[in-house]
Amino acid sequence: MANGQTTMTIKKLLFAALLSGFAFGAFAADKPADKAAEPPAPPPSMGTEYTDTGADTCLMCHVEGGDFPVHAIFKTKHANRADKRTPFAPGNLQCEACHGPGKKHADAGGGPDGINSQERSSFLTPQQRNKYCLECHQNGPRTGWHASTHDSNNVACASCHKIHAERDPVLATATQPEVCYKCHRKERADFSKPSTHPVRFGKMACSDCHSPHGSTSTGMLIKPTVNQTCYTCHAEKRGPFLWEHAPVAEDCTLCHHPHGSVNPARLKKNPPLLCQQCHSVAGHPSVARTPAGLPGGGAGGQAFLLAGSCLNCHSQIHGSNHPSGVKLMR
């Protein structure tokens, strides 16, 4: 109870602090300009004119080793001139295809005004910045980017992608999770738990299950349902079996935590309590298994509690195709 009260107090404090923060944010935004000061500068805006010489203009300042190096772009697919779709193909807009008309930015000698920097600090909203990317990349999984979870949460393309890197870390299995963990901190901890999918071992990426560019399934999965996603690697559990276990056919995550768990096989809870959440028929399934069932505890019933517990006998928990498998024991 004390813990509960403490948790409630912490929640209230956090809530109050947060509301204060939001109020301050709204106030800060609406604060009138100091009357005694100079007239405020016009708000930053995108330029409307392109540069005279395209990338050659940009590269006069954006030199190798400078504060804003860009040259690695020429090692990427965006700079393949033979591909007519790319920004650097003849006749295309080069740097300004993604960053917008750059004359205003160049004439000002740089700075954030007039250009889509694609950075978090840009005066453009993430949606406005993303529009430049979606001009070309609205196909494939990005068809449903609009109003996806990431879009709605103001994730910009450049929040995850490094366009100017020779190798974009988010596109490689071993390095992708670190990119996702920037926002998904809880998931980093999940994959450090004793039982996990092999993400922290570099053998599995978040995108093996999730479609970060937009998916209408629960959890932005690569397939329309949880189970269809799981079956891409666990087709042996697909069936349909003669004797199905209803929750297994419905949703693997009813029993398993896909990211990680303290229990073996990523189970949300260990048997017998896991099973007793849903099974309370007369006889052994309904019996409370207490520490008296431990070795030396004095009570029998160790077979129901230890080793595999319920699975000591009902091992066909994912379904059985055996004619006598109705109890998932064959």
Binding site: K11, F15, F24, G25, A29, D30, G47, G54, D56, L59, K84, T86, Q94, P101, N139, G140, T143, S152, R185, K186, R188, A189, S192, P194, P198, M204, S217, Q228, A235, R238, G239, P240, F241, L242, W243, E244, A246, A249, D251, L254, V262, N263, Q277, C278, H279, S280, V281, A282, P291, P295, Q302, A303, A307, C313, S315, N321, H322, P323, S324, R330
Partner: protein, 695 residues
């Protein structure tokens, strides 16, 4: 879908008024855009890695997925090569872990914008345990045998010392994939990909039961899964679409696992047979499209029709020749489930500040497997009542509506409502409906502080009353409410703060909480809570040194109730998992352009507390604990411009305690012959030294 949901959806759609397409800046004359300063990549470049490593101890748990499960040396080999031609021709070759069974080789080539060919070979081990003890012979195969005269009434009397052997439990996946894509025009792309994956090994099969006696068995794994994707995509400026076909075919080299009964037969049950996962297939055709109705309004939709089939030959009802069993209704199941998944989504920036979104999704698994009455033999011992199979079907309809409002450049708010309806066949509850309302506010408090808070409240209610399923015997306690169908109130809170304390110092904090109450469940899960508090910081200490820290504290709690007397609840249980994770990483350029060093230290500690209270004053179970400590040190020393030396040291220590397995030897439980698997413990050191050559 309920009428009210349809009305809501229509209402939202009507609000999505098209807005005229805005004119962009005038197209420039690019005649003088020579790109003379552009250093387009040409030729072949890459890296080659070669070296050796050494692992101090054998441990399945340490090496469960990284290939380092054996004691001794291993070869370090890898490469990354890329070639760029002037005409868009290119190829890449990447290989890693060549000396381990985590090896991976990938190649891709073609002419960008025209065609692409790809190849992938990848191995993934899963080492499960290297201390399994079993008296059975033939492990890894489909038939497990015992020495003559082995069977006794209890495990204590079994001649284990003379027959027991140690077996590794593991699986090894090997995936071979090839693919091709062709861009017929800049807008049309056709692609096809094949993946052939084998999975071999031995896994724990936790039950070979004969009434009250059982044995843990080792199950052979000899799986093959072939998958194919084929698609045709069109990407226009306003309209995009994709037609696709997906096929997945699973085959198992073993249809059944047979084993001899280690216990003294009572009614002739000298052997048992268990079905292994049957061969099955899944085929799916899908179409997806997106359409830009206007500059500010977009619609997308997709639909997929699939069919799962399974028609493996039936095994015999029993291995017990003394039983006379009626014939089966057929030789195979002819199992078939049709799937249909559809989505429709619209979003519109109604004004510069307001965006409306609407989504409808439908997921259906219609199990059309024929029902029949099957004679049933209980654990090869007793002829039971014939049982009829229950092909479960599920239908989910979901409507999600939301509005996003940007009040100022620093303050945004969003509200939404989700309406979720689930129908199930052959279950105690036919239909559940869950309505969730949520709100989110996010603010850039200052240029350096971003805050967001999301609150959601969901209520799930079932329609109709609890019903007894005739095909399920014995019947469940009528007070039981399965948690996936029970009435539930769910409150969730998500809080996030990102603070740029200084230009070189960023701090992130987050709280996620979920609180479920199953108010009408007197038996079953009655409450569940999950609270996570986390933070991370990154600090660029100097031009040479960067530091990163993260921490997460999570508590997962639940309470459930049961009835030992098949009536009112007379016991309850509390489960509490506490998990703490933290890590610290540092990177330091010790000698500029010459020597980089770094270290990562990570700790995970978990403990599970379980209390089962049946009114007899039971003590708590011993805590289930796991502690993982890992330290990685690494250095990269440039010997020459194109040659560097890479060294690494990795120490990892793990200890765990779990009363389910701790001290449980094969003969500890009189009627369960276990494999004697223990809670994993290890302390392993790995050193590695390799040379990287750049060209």
């Amino acid at each position: 879908m309920k009428t009210s949901n349809q009305l809501l959806l229509l209402g939202a759609l009507s609000a999505l008024s098209p807005v005229a397409v805005a004119d962009g800046p005038a197209a420039p004359d690019t005649a003088n855009w020579k790109c003379e300063s552009c250093k387009f990549e040409q030729g072949v470049s890459g890296t080659l890695d070669a070296g050796v490593g050494s692992v101090s101890d054998k441990s399945s748990e340490f090496g469960q997925y990284n290939g380092l499960y054996k004691k001794g040396g291993y070869f370090i080999g890898g490469t990354s090569v890329r070639s760029r031609g002037a005409d868009g021709a290119y190829w890449n070759l990447d290989a890693s872990d060549l000396g381990l069974d985590t090896r991976s080789i990938g190649a891709e080539g073609g002419k960008q914008g025209s065609y692409k060919l790809s190849f992938k070979y990848d191995e993934t081990p899963h080492r499960i345990g290297n201390d399994a003890l079993t008296p059975f012979s033939g492990n890894g195969g489909a038939s497990l045998t015992l020495p003559a005269g082995f069977a006794t009434t209890t495990t204590a009397g079994m001649p284990l010392a003379a027959s027991q052997q140690q077996v590794d439990l593991y699986t090894q996946r090997k995936m071979l994939g090839v693919g091709a894509s062709w861009n017929r025009t800049t807008q049309w792309e056709y692609a096809v990909n094949f993946r052939h994956e084998t999975r071999d090994g031995n896994i724990l099969r936790t039950g070979g039961a004969f009434f009250v006696n059982t044995a843990q068995l080792i199950e052979p794994v000899d799986y093959v899964t072939d998958q194919m994707d084929a698609s045709a995509s069109y990407a226009g400026r306003k309209f995009q679409m994709k037609l696709a076909y997906y096929a997945s075919k699973f085959s198992n080299g073993n249809q059944a696992l047979n084993w001899q009964n280690p216990y003294t037969p009572i009614v002739g049950e000298t052997a048992g047979q268990i079905a292994l996962p049957p061969d099955n297939q899944f085929h799916q055709v899908s179409a997806s499209l997106g359409y830009q109705l206007s500059d500010k309004t977009r619609a997308s939709a997709d639909i997929a029709f699939g069919r799962m089939t399974q028609n493996d030959s039936f095994l015999g009802s029993t291995q017990n020749a003394a039983l006379v069993v009626p014939g089966l209704p057929g030789t195979s199941l002819n199992g078939r489930a049709e799937t249909m998944d559809a989505n429709l989504k619209l979003s519109s920036a109604v004004t510069d500040k307001l965006r409306l979104n609407a989504l409808y999704s439908h997921n259906d698994r219609d199990n059309q497997t024929p029902q029949a009455s099957y004679p049933s033999v209980a654990t090869d011992m007793f002829l039971g009542t014939a049982r009829t199979n229950l092909p479960y079907s599920f239908t989910q309809d979901k409507v999600k509506l939301s509005a996003d409002y940007r009040a100022t450049s620093r303050l945004r708010g969003a509200i939404g409502a989700d309406f979720d309806s689930n129908k199930r066949s052959y279950q105690e509850i036919d239909t559940t409906r869950e309505d969730t309302a949520w709100g989110k506010i996010s603010s850039r408090v200052t240029d350096k502080i971003d805050l967001s808070l999301k609150l959601a409240h969901g209520e799930r209610r079932n329609t109709g009353s609890f019903q007894v399923i005739p095909g399920i015997t014995p019947a469940e306690n009528p007070l039981l409410r399965r948690f996936n169908m029970a009435n539930r109130t769910r409150e969730t809170v998500g809080l996030r703060a990102d603070i740029g304390v200084a230009e070189n110092f960023n701090l992130g904090l987050g709280v996620d909480s979920s609180d479920d109450k199953y108010e009408d469940s007197s038996i079953g899960l009655t409450s569940a809570k999950d609270l996570s508090v986390n933070g991370d910081l990154s600090w660029t200490v100097s031009e040479k040194t960067r530091l990163h820290f993260f921490a997460n504290h999570q508590v997962i709690k639940s309470r459930q109730a049961g009835s030992q007397t098949f009536s009112l609840p007379d016991w309850n249980a509390d489960n509490k998992d506490t998990i703490d994770t933290f890590g610290l990483g540092v990177k330091h350029a010790a000698i500029k352009d010459k020597l980089d060093i770094g270290a990562d230290y990570a700790v995970t500690r978990s403990r599970s507390e379980i209390n089962v209270n049946n009114g007899a004053g039971n003590p708590a179970f011993p805590e289930v604990t796991a502690n993982l400590n890992g330290l990685k040190l690494y250095a990269d020393y440039r010997l020459k411009e194109n040659v560097s030396l890479q060294a690494g040291y990795w120490h990892e220590r793990y200890d765990s305690k779990d009363w389910m397995t701790e001290g449980i030897a094969p003969a500890t439980i009189p009627n369960v012959l276990t494999l004697g698997l223990q809670s994993p413990q290890y302390s392993v050191n790995v050193v590695r030294l390799s040379v990287r050559y750049k060209f």
